[in-house]
């Protein structure tokens, strides 16, 4: 099969296939990052853009691909596969699609390696760019985040499509004939997106339906683990990845218009392919990490124990970044939750003293706000608004908080009156400081026109004054008409 191929052509062909495989993986994984990809066209060749396409290299992905290939090339009976799957925040996963780079025995001995094969591989990569946006997994990957993430796995060997469920569809991206076989690139994608979680939450609406079989033991457990389609900033990986064996590889960008017998390569200066990785640093497509806000809040707004389970279900379908973090604490035992001190902060204008409670005393959601026996309704500021500032004493409420170490029942006797100090105010310079302003304008007096004083006016007097008012309005009718004209 290889007898008609010159050593130089064989070497070139192997190189083309190798870098085609690496670029294929990059295109597929980058298309599942969840963000739009954009690369610039360059009128002058850089010598490092394989197949004349600007496809950036994510170092981790290249590393994974090379690890899977282990120095081999895709060939007859040795396929390179990229498996894309979805993993929910609850840990359930489902294979979505499998991209296969295969080779069959059909050879095209007359094809020119350095020109035709190279250009056709370039065309095939463009087709791959187009097709990766068309399969159902693309839309799913664009919406990933808190509820689920997209993972990829690269393996080498026999293609396995059993994880895609029944009725999966196949789309062929393209084929390129070479003197040693025909390269085919295809995608098999799942059409049945129904799955069921074995951890059933009573109040949880299923995200996508009912799972059927996704907890089957993975057949390729020893062939690599799933990786999130996740990009780390260049600084983290530059030192780690060592592409020594490729540092001297160059990509072919020079062609000849001469007849085949005079075809020559004009090699460019050696370029370190690792330096191609100038991925824009602003990519925050961290698909593997639910919730894009950083850090678990120090004080989780804890829900009561028996409500926590229901909350998990709701959280999994909610997109609120803060609430999604409660997934992280689901391993906490109920007794830990009970010991957490729930500090209730009193609003600035509340007359009632703050109450410090622990979660132990809460057995209802939002129980802290429930009416209590010792709270008289007439003293509740939500029912009886405070009196106007002229007659009432200055606000007794304040921002009140205590350390988390304290706990106990009602603490009215411990309430300490503190002068209200609004943020960012300087209370020593202005005659009326911000606090006084707040107090005075919190309870403005009622408008005089809305005050109904029955003794001063009667209906009859109103009617008597009406003709006089009408006469005045008629006198000024021109003014009113002019006003109406301006409105039109």
């Amino acid at each position: 099969m290889d007898s008609d191929l010159s050593p130089q052509d064989k070497k070139d062909l192997d190189k083309f296939i190798k870098f085609f495989a690496l670029k294929t993986v990059q295109v597929i994984v980058q298309a599942r990052l969840g963000e739009k990809v954009c690369t610039r066209s360059l009128s002058s060749p850089t010598g490092s853009d394989w197949f004349n396409l600007a496809i950036k290299d994510i170092p981790e992905v290249t590393h994974e691909a090379k690890k899977a290939l282990s120095g081999q090339l895709p060939g007859i009976g040795r396929s390179m596969c990229v498996e894309i799957s979805l993993k929910t925040s609850e840990g359930d996963s489902m294979e979505l699609e499998t991209w296969c780079l295969e080779m069959n025995e059909k050879c095209d001995k007359d094809i020119k390696v350095s020109y035709t094969v190279y250009n056709r591989l370039s065309l095939l990569l463009k087709s791959l760019l187009a097709i990766t946006r068309v399969t159902p997994a693309y839309k799913l990957s664009r919406k990933q985040g808190h509820d689920y993430v997209i993972l990829y796995r690269i393996y080498f060997g026999e293609v396995q499509l059993t994880g895609l469920g029944e009725g999966f569809q196949t789309v062929r991206v393209g084929v390129v004939g070479t003197p040693i076989g025909t390269i085919t690139l295809s995608c098999a994608y799942r059409t049945n997106l129904a799955f069921m979680s074995t951890r059933q939450f009573e109040r949880t609406a299923p995200i996508m339906g009912i799972i059927i079989d996704h907890f089957v033991e993975r057949p390729f457990g020893n062939m690599g683990h799933m990786r999130p389609c996740n990009y780390r900033a260049p600084g983290e990986d530059e030192g780690a990845y060592n592409g020594v064996e490729d540092s001297q590889e160059v990509c072919t960008t020079s062609f000849s218009t001469s007849p085949p017998s005079q075809v020559r390569m004009s090699p460019l200066s050696n370029v370190d392919l690792c330096n191609m990785c100038n991925f824009r640093g602003g990519v925050h497509g961290e698909m593997g990490i639910p919730g894009k806000e950083g850090g678990i809040p120090q004080q989780v707004p804890v829900q009561p124990c028996h409500g926590a389970q229901a909350e998990h279900g709701r959280v999994s379908s909610s997109k609120h970044p803060t609430l999604s973090r409660s997934i992280e604490v689901k391993g906490v035992s109920p007794c830990d939750v009970l010991e957490t001190t729930f500090t209730r902060k009193v609003g600035a204008f509340v007359n009632k003293p703050g109450t410090q409670v622990t979660t132990a005393s809460l057995d209802l959601p939002f129980a802290a706000f429930a009416p209590r026996a010792y709270d008289l309704e007439e003293n509740d500021p939500m029912v009886q608004p405070p009196e106007s500032p002229a007659t009432s004493s200055p606000l007794q409420g304040s921002l009140h908080s205590q350390g988390s170490g304290e706990s106990g029942g009602p603490a009215q006797d411990d309430f300490v009156m503190v002068d209200f100090k609004p943020a960012f105010s300087k209370d020593d310079l202005l005659p009326m400081d911000l606090g006084t302003f707040y107090r005075e304008f919190q309870n403005p007096p009622q408008l005089a026109s809305l005050t109904i004083d029955v003794s001063s006016q009667s209906m009859a007097e109103d009617l008597d004054s009406l003709p006089e008012k009408l006469a005045v309005y008629e006198k000024n009718i021109d003014e009113f008409d002019a006003f109406v004209d301006t409105l039109q």
Partner: protein, 217 residues
């Protein structure tokens, strides 16, 4: 040489015409554009790099990839805009937009250069009017799926690796490629369109009938 002809057909709502046409035309041009050629001595040339860009449609649940070239995008948008204007706004109708790749063949004076098409893509568009928002939402998804199928069709045709013009020498590059753009180099192409009124007849067929009828008298 026979010109290869491919036909695609889509049914869209009026406001989806632009994006549907852009999606298909850009997908074809992505495959029919190369980097800029830089000719060197000894008959060799190097090729620039083609960048790509993801575009999300606003009125269709669909995303596509186009070549990163603002100049090319502007040219395509201009043609699609003219097509849409000719189709009319918000009216039912049919039209066809054609993307033709051709080669120039130099002729001697006084004859002008001959344009010989080698690949023609014809996209038939049926514009429908929808009654309510629910139908529009369904249309968004359906048209997105249809466009996905069309992209797969396009890729399938292109990967048959049928006739492509030979790579030209420096003196003939303008006969094969559009070298006017500064960042990429598509094959020479032109975009034409034809509008059919609601009766299903096109302006050209009506004229043809009139002339025939006149001659028959």
């Amino acid at each position: 040489m026979n010109c290869r002809s491919e036909a695609l057909e889509v049914s869209v709502e009026g406001r989806q015409v632009d994006e549907a046409m852009l999606a298909l035309l850009h997908t074809i041009l992505l495959h029919r554009s190369t980097g800029k050629f830089h000719y060197k001595k000894e008959g060799t040339y190097s090729i620039g790099t083609v960048g790509t860009q993801d575009i999300d449609c606003d009125f269709i649940d669909f995303s596509f990839v186009r070549v990163s070239s603002d100049e090319l995008d502007r040219a395509i948008r201009k043609a699609v805009g003219e097509f849409k204007d000719a189709m009319g706004n918000g009216m039912d109708g049919m039209g066809q937009i054609s993307l033709e790749f051709y080669q120039k063949k130099k002729s001697r004076w006084p004859f002008s250069d001959e344009c010989i098409p080698w690949e023609v893509w014809s996209i038939k568009v049926n514009v429908v009017n929808l009654a309510n928002e629910q139908e529009r939402q369904i249309c968004r998804e359906k048209v997105g799926e249809k466009l996905g199928e069309k992209v797969i069709n396009i890729v399938e045709v292109i990967n048959r690796h049928e006739y492509l013009p030979k790579m030209p020498t420096q003196s003939e590059v303008d006969n094969v490629f559009d070298t006017s753009l500064k960042d990429v180099q598509p094959y020479l192409y032109k975009i034409t369109f034809q509008i059919t009124d609601t009766l299903g007849t096109s302006v050209s067929t009506t004229m043809r009938r009139l002339i025939k009828d006149t001659l028959a008298l």
